[in-house]
């Protein structure tokens, strides 16, 4: 169990994962559920256990749409989406650098790419 990583996720997310009572309403409400290897309630539970590395490696991180349905539905105000975001940040920072150098981006831009996706990409990868 990686305590320092867990502490980092706790602090970054601002979420007290111990408030979870394992009702699963987050996963019940999640529109990306079937796309995910680890589901929202598992994110919360695994972070509580300190079992964060598998989450960081999982594609599930990037399947979360950050739609906040789980936050809206959670009866205990646990806010799973914030946990996912924090783990995502942990994954990004662990690699030390941004995935892309800003200069590389213009060449990769596709005219059909929605503006919002670009912004989202920046938000995800440049923190």
């Amino acid at each position: 169990m990686n305590n320092s990583l867990k502490d980092w996720v706790d602090i970054t997310s601002g979420v007290n994962v111990r408030k979870c009572m394992r009702c699963g309403k987050c996963s019940a409400a999640c529109p990306s559920y079937d796309e995910m290897e680890y589901h929202p309630h598992q994110f919360v539970y695994m972070v509580e256990k300190g079992d964060i590395e598998p989450l960081m490696k999982s594609d599930s991180l990037y399947r979360c749409l950050t739609c906040f349905a789980c936050i809206e539905r959670c009866p205990r105000n646990v806010e799973p989406a914030k946990v996912v975001e924090a783990v995502r940040l942990a994954a990004v920072r662990k690699q030390g650098n941004n995935h892309l150098i800003p200069d590389q981006i213009p060449a990769m831009l596709d005219d059909d790419l929605p503006q919002q996706a670009i912004v989202t990409a920046f938000r995800k990868y440049t923190k």
């Binding site: 408030k19 009572m21 394992r22 009702c23 699963g24 309403k25 987050c26 996963s27 019940a28 409400a29 999640c30 559920y33 079937d34 589901h39 309630h41 598992q42 349905a69 539905r73 009866p75 205990r76 105000n77």
Partner: protein, 663 residues
């Protein structure tokens, strides 16, 4: 010269683990006037009390300080011990070194230091304690039960059984409460009406019981043994003494489109109505919001058909004043409003119902005559999904933070009844935890799973979507299978959280009883005094104190009755001797104290005084009625001359405590 004994309790390790009790006893032993200071494992135990009694005799103690748990816990215990040893019980002071010291502090050094200071304050106070003798006040031998549900009914019957007069005040036109709306009861599956209605009839027939139906509490004055209550009898526009309950008016009433609250609005009633067939009292009432005669003066059909002339359109609210010795609160509960949980589509589909609505849908006296049909198309449902914990254990503002306690069991009951009556129906129950503590409760739940094949799924429903084909798409998580499910359901039943009745909060204010943050009444002690409120003479029965099922409610109702009977049996009760009194020599007669007294305990008398020059002078001075004074002390501060003081909490005693703490 004072001879004070100090007794320091270890409370096992509760105190001794964080406070060096020996050091406390040693330090307090050096306080002025202290002749003996010792510690003991459990002061409240019999041998602990004997230790105190022996010390009183051996050292001729004039005051006792016990350093132990909160005085709210054992002050009385130690006062009785002192009295048994011949010492006035009010010469005992408690230093609270458990709840307010050992339990909140961690470091032994500082906790011990604080315990010594708290003990020192108690010693300083006890130096100034005076022996007090409690006065007596008479007890009115009549009880009031507020609320006529199963809790109120049981309490009233028990009190009447003991031979005391008892009044039930019920805000609805009939007694019966929530239980009257329920179909079957867990875990025995016997019919609720079959066990409740005989009790309702018993109430009506018992000549010790008076039912004030369609009435509310308007005002409460007085104190234990002597409450004066104003009851507001709401206008029902039907003379209770004349109406025979024949029901002819309800048949003839032309206004037939009034949502029927007894059936949770699932069908309609008439403007003049009797809530249900077994209502007690079986007397009609006219709903002024719908009655054509009361609204625009055109109709009068009910008045014409009534053979006994009971209809009275001019009736107004009446106020009656009654005196009671004891009051039992039994205001009960209601399911919360779940409109705010948009994800369950309660407002979008009539086929999403609450459990209490399902209860009416399945009831033989309900809108469908006992056949379970979908409200939308009156067809037989084949797939039913139950969702538990809707609004319970919920920290946001939509719900309640507590467990509503009854939902697991009634959901199992519903599931089982449906599977028994309609075996072709698939029943799914989504649960977070299944909580079944209670006699035969878990067996009952297991029976639903094992015998009746109810599908219990660990997880929550995330979204209910009404579909064009009339079905409901239920999206949910199965946490154990680790999958997200979609169920095509015909009906969804929501186990809504329960909350105290809205009338409870203003009632608590009138009764000066405490409530918790959820508006449940607070009991005097969670374990040892569960049916008493902290206010003497006010008792708690049923779900007004916290979520309860029927067996628990009835048990608590009888317990509250026993407590009330215990009070009513007495001819008089000992008053709190810690009351205010005025030093006539210092009183200016200025009337300040009278103006702040909430009980009207202060009057003024003209009294003769011998003056130093041998003349007599008549002066107006305050006089406190000790039976009426409750000892709040408001007058002591209002008094400009300091003539008014409070026994047990005198100016000099509190000042001595301040000094001891600030030394």
């Amino acid at each position: 010269m004072q001879r004070i004994g100090v007794f320091v309790c270890h409370c096992g390790t509760n105190i001794a683990a964080t406070v060096d009790v020996k050091a406390v006893a040693e330090a307090l032993g050096h306080e002025p006037g202290v002749v003996i200071s010792q510690d003991y494992q459990y002061m409240c135990s019999e041998s602990g009390q004997n230790l105190i009694k022996d010390a009183v005799k051996e050292h001729s103690l004039t005051g006792i300080v016990v350093c132990s748990c909160s005085p709210r816990m054992h002050e009385n215990t130690f006062r009785k011990a002192a009295a048994a040893a011949g010492l006035n019980p009010y010469l005992v002071e408690i230093a609270n070194i458990r709840e307010q010291c050992s339990w909140i502090h961690k470091e032994i050094a500082t906790a011990t230091e604080k315990a010594v200071i708290l003990g020192r304050a108690a010693v300083a106070k006890v130096h100034l304690n005076a022996p007090l003798t409690a006065g007596e006040s008479p007890v009115v031998k009549r009880a009031l039960v507020i609320g006529g549900g199963i809790a109120g009914i049981q309490t009233a019957l028990d009190i009447a059984e003991a031979g005391f007069e008892v009044d039930i005040v019920e805000k609805e036109p009939t007694i019966g409460g929530k239980m009257a709306q329920i179909d079957k009861t867990f875990p025995t599956l016997d019919c609720a009406a079959c066990i409740l209605t005989p009790k309702m009839v018993e109430c009506a027939q018992n000549d010790k019981i008076t039912i004030h139906s369609f009435s509310e509490i308007a005002d409460v004055k007085g104190f234990v043994g002597n409450f004066t209550v104003t009851i507001k009898k709401k206008a029902r526009f039907v003379d209770e003494t004349k109406c025979t309950g024949c029901g002819l008016c309800t048949e003839k009433c032309p206004m037939k489109k009034v949502p029927n609250e007894f059936n949770m609005g699932l069908d309609n009633r008439t403007a003049v109505y009797i809530p249900f067939a077994q209502a007690v009292p079986k007397v009609a009432a006219i709903d002024p919001n719908y009655c054509l005669m009361l609204k625009n003066g055109k109709c009068g059909v009910c008045s014409k058909v009534c053979s006994v002339g009971a209809i009275d359109y001019k009736q107004t609210d009446k106020f009656v004043e009654e005196k009671y010795g004891a009051i039992v609160v039994a205001t009960g509960f209601n399911p919360i409003k779940i409109d705010k949980y948009e994800e369950f589509a309660y407002n979008q589909s009539p086929d999403v119902v609450t459990s209490l609505e399902l209860e009416r849908l399945m009831n033989a006296a309900g809108p469908n005559g006992g056949t379970l049909l979908r409200p939308s198309d009156k067809k037989h449902p084949h797939t039913i999904v139950f969702v538990q914990c809707v609004g319970s254990r919920c920290e946001d503002e939509k719900g309640k933070p507590y467990c509503s306690k009854i939902c697991c069991m009634y959901t199992a009951k519903h599931a089982m009844l449906i599977r028994e009556k309609y075996p072709d129906t698939e029943v799914y129950v989504f649960y977070i935890d299944v909580r079944t503590p209670g006699k035969n409760f878990d067996e009952f739940y297991r029976r639903a799973v094992e015998q009746y094949g109810v599908h219990y799924i660990k997880g929550m429903v995330g979204k209910v979507t009404p579909k064009s084909d009339g079905k409901l798409d239920v999206q949910a998580a199965d946490l154990l299978a680790n999958e997200q499910l979609h169920i095509d359901a015909d009906m969804v039943v929501l186990a809504a959280a329960i909350e105290p009745d809205k009338s409870a909060r203003p009632l608590a204010t009138m009764l000066t009883t405490q409530m918790d943050t959820n508006d449940f009444f607070t009991e005097a002690h969670p374990k040892l005094r569960p049916v008493e409120s902290a206010t003497a003479g006010i008792f708690l029965s049923g779900a007004c104190q916290g979520p309860k099922d029927i067996p628990e409610t009835v048990a608590q109702a009888s317990a509250a009755a026993a407590k009330a009977i215990g009070l009513l049996c007495k001819n008089s009760i000992t008053c709190n001797p810690c009351v205010a009194s005025s030093d006539e020599l210092m009183c200016n007669g200025c009337s300040s104290c009278e103006k702040v007294c909430p009980y009207g305990a202060i009057t003024y008398i003209d009294k003769e005084f011998r003056m130093p020059d041998k003349t007599t002078r008549i002066r107006r001075v305050a006089s406190v009625n000790p039976a009426v004074c409750q000892g709040c002390g408001a007058c002591t501060v209002a008094c400009p001359s300091g003539a008014m003081d409070l026994s047990g909490f005198s100016n000099s005693q509190i000042m001595a405590e301040v000094d001891a703490i600030c030394k």
